[in-house]
């Protein structure tokens, strides 16, 4: 299989990369049945280029309802890169003649995405204290991208997201009183449509950030990008599930909300609304819980019958304790 994709990639790369002499080391990195990520090397007389292919193979063109689509992702990455947001350079958007499906090829960015390494390894010790602030600055940049340049994206509000989560949860047909409590809390505390509507990354957290000793090098995975309340991204990055044990540092286990907010406000001048951020943190915690249940469902229904998926189903209880800590904290 690897030989076939290398031949396809080589033909594709020669069409847009003058001087490229070949493609090697194609390796599948991750992804499910509908989306693949491949790493490969482009041989070039001026020096090899590390590249990443992100694609939906032919026959998997239909994106899940929530996904922005790979074509939109490529546009967003280009816009982000041009605006100075740490982002991989998009080298090529796949065309039908490439016969590689739908997707794009980008330059590989070296660095780390594994949270436990970022939070604990000595390599990142100097960067860690600065990262919460930097994440705020980057989010301000993302939210500042001009709306008229954006591709077609879904427009979401708190109310529409609550409705989606409720529908997904009820589809599992498994009673979870804590999820019900959270759904009820969200409906009761819905802050209404945001006065400011921006691009929302939608999945801004560990795993989708390439980090080096110098700080954030790239924001990845714009699959869940949409238009909505910019505070959503700030709440999502504070969800306890992304703290990986460093539970007293709300921003991805790296730092404080105050640092995140200060970075955000300094980079753009727009005020952070901490109440809205808290609302979105509750929403995000429930969302991850519902996503864990969804992975269990996919395991059970067959398409991805792996023990990893099955075990993620047993992580939804983590979000229940996190929701109780947010909504019904016990006395000290």
């Amino acid at each position: 299989m690897a030989a076939t994709i290398e031949q396809q990639l080589e033909r594709c790369v020669r069409s847009w990369c003058p001087g490229a002499t070949g493609v090697s080391d194609a390796a599948r990195l991750s992804g499910g049945a509908s989306q693949e990520t491949w790493s490969f090397e482009i041989a070039h007389p001026d020096g090899n280029i590390g590249a990443i292919l992100r694609r939906a193979p032919s026959g998997y063109g239909a994106a899940p309802s929530r996904a922005a689509g790979l074509a939109a992702e490529a546009v967003l990455m280009r816009l982000a890169h041009d605006a100075g947001i740490p982002s991989p350079r998009v080298l090529h958007v796949l065309e039908p003649g490439d016969e590689l499906g739908i997707g794009f090829i980008m330059q590989r960015v070296e660095g780390e995405t594994i949270p436990r390494k970022i939070l604990r390894d000595e390599t990142f010790a100097a960067a860690r204290p600065k990262l919460a602030r930097q994440l705020g600055e980057i989010l301000a940049g993302i939210h500042g991208l001009p709306l008229p340049q954006l591709p077609e994206l879904r427009r979401m509000t708190a109310a529409s997201e609550i409705a989606e989560l409720a529908r997904d949860y009820r589809g599992f047909n498994w009673p979870r009183p804590v999820f019900e409590l959270a759904l009820r809390w969200l409906s009761d505390h819905d802050p209404g449509p945001s006065a400011r509507v921006t691009l929302v990354h939608g999945d801004f957290r560990h795993g989708n950030l390439i980090i080096g000793p110098d700080g954030v090098r790239a924001v990845l995975d714009w699959e869940l990008a949409h238009l909505g309340d910019p505070m959503e991204d700030l709440g999502w990055v504070c969800v306890n599930s992304w703290r990986f044990g460093e539970i007293d540092k709300p921003v991805g286990g790296l730092g404080t909300r105050e640092e995140l907010f200060a970075g955000y406000e300094s980079a753009r001048g727009d005020r952070v609304d901490p109440e809205r951020v808290k609302f979105w943190e509750v929403m995000g915690t429930l969302r991850w819980g519902v996503m864990c249940c969804g992975m269990m469902q996919r395991f059970r229904d067959g398409p991805e019958h792996s023990v990893e998926r099955a075990m993620i189903g047993r992580r939804s209880s983590e979000t229940e304790i996190d929701l109780l800590r947010l909504l019904a904290p016990r006395g000290t």
């Binding site: 009820r184 460093e246 209880s317």
Partner: protein
């Protein structure tokens, strides 16, 4: 009545074998999958040890809280419905305590090393 060894003893024996003899022989993605698999076996062992007691307590507590009788699943559905309709909320006497107790019982099986769970245990 089924014979011995018990399911727990059998699973423990399999887990011990995989950990001691297979884990050192493999690497990469297979080693990752083996670690996840061993975590799954450990989870099953915890559930086999803890489930019957925690289910009995939860059923009794739900009966008291709701004033109803039924299976654990039926009672949980009834509680979920009452919260959804607003008939029960955090002001309902006993509700917050019940949710905490049942959630801690889930974490004891699912992820006893989860930091938020360990923090809450320290409060007891």
């Amino acid at each position: 009545m089924q014979d011995e060894p018990t399911p727990s003893e059998l699973i423990q024996a399999v887990a011990d074998f995989l950990r001691a003899e297979i884990a050192p022989q493999i690497s990469g993605h297979a080693a990752f999958k083996l670690r996840v698999s061993l975590n799954a076996l450990d989870l099953v062992l915890r559930q086999l040890a803890l489930e019957s007691d925690s289910d009995a307590v939860e059923t009794a507590d739900l009966s008291t809280l709701l004033g109803l009788h039924g299976s654990l699943a039926e009672l949980n559905r009834a509680l979920a419905d009452r919260i959804a309709t607003g008939e029960a909320d955090l002001q309902t006497p006993g509700l917050a305590d019940h949710l905490w107790k049942t959630t801690l019982a889930k974490l004891a099986v699912d992820q006893p090393n989860y930091a938020a769970y360990k923090r809450e245990l320290e409060r007891k």
